[in-house]
Symmetry: C2
Subunit: 224 residues, 2 copies
């Protein structure tokens, strides 16, 4: 049985990755992080999604990086923006977030003897986060192989980013072909406790445009 660690935020992209990993025959170990994000409703979504897909285990890892500050996603003093400006890294960037998440996933994968980690990052229709780009991912892969006992022993853990070159609409079409129910997912940076989306933040706007471009019905539950 081949195992995979799947980073699962509870959003659209990571859920599509989980569906893909399942389809590819992996026994999935889902990993979410409670890192002080304002939109902790995404964690409840992640729990529902992990259950829905019958993962072998779902870890919600407490990671108190939020109190260090530095991001609109964790700092009450910084407002969440509505639009992503071209070529500007927005205030929703969380310093080193994907590196921290992938590092913990790497440790867990090595312990589990899982040789694949799935992460739903994309460099298309994205938020200009530096840690979502192909050259970043390649560098993480090189580092990860040198960092680990399993890598040194020529059984490296592979970082899989199957959405890297897909637009949001293409990701949606992939997920729908795999039977994903996107009403389970929460992308909104300001989601309320029931997981209802604001419909106006930068993340909602990227998501909404994806459904429009894919020309499929948007099942997102918005605050009315």
């Amino acid at each position: 049985m081949k195992k995979a660690v799947v980073l699962l935020s509870g959003g659209l992209d990571s859920t599509t990755c989980l569906a893909l990993a399942k389809k590819q025959g992996f026994v999935c170990y889902a990993l979410s992080f409670s890192y002080g994000q304002k939109h902790s409703a995404e964690l409840r979504a992640a729990q529902n999604i992990a259950h829905h897909f019958g993962v072998m285990r779902h870890e919600i890892f407490n990671l108190d990086i939020g109190h260090l500050g530095g991001s609109a996603l964790t700092d009450p003093q910084i407002a969440i923006p509505e639009e992503i400006e071209e070529n500007i890294i927005p205030v929703t960037y969380v310093p080193a977030r994907n590196t921290i998440f992938l590092s913990i996933a790497l440790g867990w994968a090595e312990i589990l003897e899982a040789y694949n980690i799935f992460i739903g990052i994309s460099a298309v229709d994205y938020s200009n986060y530096p840690d979502c780009r192909p050259d970043y991912l390649d560098a993480f892969q090189t580092m990860a192989t040198l960092a680990t006992k399993t890598g040194v022993e020529a059984k490296p853990v592979h970082i899989e980013a199957p959405l890297m070159h897909l637009s949001k609409a293409e990701t949606l079409n992939l997920g729908l072909s795999l039977g994903v129910d996107y009403s389970l997912t929460v992308s909104c940076y300001k989601a309320n406790d029931e997981g209802l989306a604001c419909g106006h933040c930068a993340s909602c706007n990227i998501r909404k445009r994806g459904f429009v471009e894919a020309a499929v019905a948007d099942p997102t539950r918005y605050i009315t």
Copy 2:
């Protein structure tokens, strides 16, 4: 004022790094991890050392990787060995530990606008951990620059490993020249609650040989 994040385990090497960073004029932010290590006495040592050196802030970061298992340092079922065998990665290896520690240090450095992280790793007189070698460190540096806003904006965070090519005796001589009181430090993997060292584990043996080679008195407090 130039700032540095200093990874501080409470052991001999990280304390030497902290002394060096201070000497080089950095305002120091010490970072320790409570990760489920059996030898949590090292954290109390780290607190004393941070206070002694007058760091600006000392974060003891809770990181629950211990419950994932996979290492003699965290798993009660795995005994701590007494000797390091040549060219074998020992059971005290913690999967991806330095990568996780450095990633969190990277995030904190970016938030603080600190452009240097000090880590006391060495590839001489060491435990064959893959994440203590120069090629690993180079790969982490490359990844870290691509991962971060500050890196993309041409103000990368530099990972400093000033002990990388020093033997344990050379590290001790460096530290002593900087006035380090090594009786404050705890290296032992089986240190008791008072911070007394067992004198027999692999870490104690590396440390003891360092004092012998440096031909200086060993101030370590051993369990008698």
